[in-house]
Amino acid sequence: MKKMKAVFFTLLAATALSVFLIQSGVQAQPQAEQVAKQQPKQTAAKPLVHAPDTVTPAPKMAFFPCSQCHSAMPVNKKERALTFHTEITLKHMPTGWCYSCHDEKNRDKLKLANGDLIDYNDSALLCGQCHGASLKEWQDGVHGKRTGMWNGKKVYENCLSCHDQHQPAFKAIKPMPAPERPEKIIYKKKK
């Protein structure tokens, strides 16, 4: 049953991916695995946001560049309990591990499923591989948060401004206080 589920999700992801790739004008490959095996290319995809006067905030990263430490470390592809990045809990896809998104050789880049390496600033493209509709909606401004000017310079909050990439479900938060009931709204003497 579990296996079935995994197969289903993989297929789903592959479908979403191919749709996205066709949309973004990249030649879609029949097999996702094949794509991953190709030589990594250094070209980034098309600009994320076309509108002028827009800013997308850079992701907040504590230890960038990652290569500082990782270049000296051997690659360990085994799924295991992390001993250093303990703040990370992976609760995202049904399957997958660090190297689904991080490039094992160039630690300062993210890796798309087709093997393209992209900047951390363009992480939305990575998310968009599976969440293609969301990426499109985000580019149109109907998904995600924007601040600034409705008719001018604005800040497009990134995927990562709101979602934790490793466990993207929203955390429940404490609500602001409830309004006062009408019975409680009474005259009070000025101080």
Binding site: H143, G144, R146, A169, F170, A172, Y187
Partner: protein
């Protein structure tokens, strides 16, 4: 009706002295201005309707108000009268699939728009509704929810504020024309012209209008000094107020405060006349609906379901 009155919390203690004082001053109270009126009273008493004033007259009124407010709050308060932009009709979109009911919008609105803290006035009401319940039946809604965390499993949230109707019933019923629809679609109120009859409140199908039952109270240090005459300037006791799409911000191109405060990006705002605006894109992408469409008020406030459900932990 008279006999069976339960004690209402607002039934303040009326001691005898109040009455003696009252009996003596009662007649005077009807004819004379309230005790806290200042020298500018006559000017404000005879102030004309906002729309009947020339630009110069408006400037004079604004100068007076700025002086009054600055004195009252001991800091410089700016009052603008920015006019609507050309070819702009504001529209608002709210993704109730995403709203988590945190009331951050309410808080931001109160602070931006100088709503009275006590007696409390809030322009936005966030309704908690049961998933699967009748959506048109607001009686299943709860405005006063206060759980440890939101969203709560099994519920969705529906924030309601002024819907800036294309055909606003409140404007139609106002006996003094103190409220009207501006060219950019914002329904505004001239607080100085409103007599406080509250017919508009009876007429609003969205419960969006608020009355200053007592003297509004905003602590000086919390007052937002960037105000608009038709928006967030300090209001007088006894007048009606409501959401203006943050007229003081949006007429200068900025997003409303609630849009910027929403932590889940559920709030969308833009120019309905611009096909590339976020609101127009939202209308293309999603199936939008408006509240109480059967009343034909044609709100410029659209709701939609951007995702199937709020996906927060617990919200499943």
């Amino acid at each position: 009706m008279i006999k069976n009155t339960r004690k209402h919390p607002a039934a303040i203690d009326l001691d005898r002295r109040t009455f003696l004082k009252g009996a003596a001053l009662g007649a005077a109270a009807m004819a004379l201005p309230p005790a806290d009126a200042d020298a500018g009273f006559l000017e404000s008493f005879f102030q004309k309707h906002f729309r009947e004033m020339s630009d110069e007259e408006i400037k004079k009124v604004i100068d007076r108000l700025e002086k009054d407010y600055s004195k009252q709050f001991s800091k410089e308060v700016k009052v603008k009268a920015t006019k609507p932009m050309e070819n702009v009709v504001f529209g608002y979109g709210l993704d109730i699939g995403r709203c988590i009911g945190c009331r951050k919008c309410v808080q931001a609105c109160v602070e931006e728009n100088n709503q009275s803290r006590d007696p409390q006035i809030q322009w936005i009401s966030v309704l908690k509704m049961k998933k699967g319940a009748k959506m048109a039946d607001f009686q299943t809604a709860d405005k006063y929810y206060q759980p440890e965390q939101v969203p709560e499993p099994g519920y969705f949230y529906l924030p309601v504020q002024c819907q800036q109707c294309e055909d606003p019933p409140c404007v139609k019923v106002c006996p003094t024309k103190a409220t009207w629809k501006e060219k950019d679609g914002i329904v505004v109120i001239d607080y100085n012209w409103c007599i406080g009859c509250r017919y508009c409140m009876a007429a609003c199908p969205y419960g969006a209008r608020r009355f200053n039952w007592g003297t509004p109270n905003v602590p000086a240090e919390q007052l937002n000094p960037n105000t608009h005459y038709l928006g967030n300037r300090p209001r007088p006791k006894g007048s009606v107020e409501k959401c203006t799409f943050c007229i003081q911000r949006t007429r200068e191109g900025r997003y409303p405060a609630c849009v910027e405060a929403c932590p889940v990006g559920a709030r969308k705002f833009g120019n309905l006349a611009d096909p590339n605006s976020e609101i127009r894109k939202a209308m293309e992408h999603f199936r939008v609906f408006r509240l109480k469409e059967d009343l034909n008020t044609k709100p410029q406030f659209f709701y939609f379901f951007g995702v199937k459900s709020n996906r927060a932990e617990g919200g499943k």
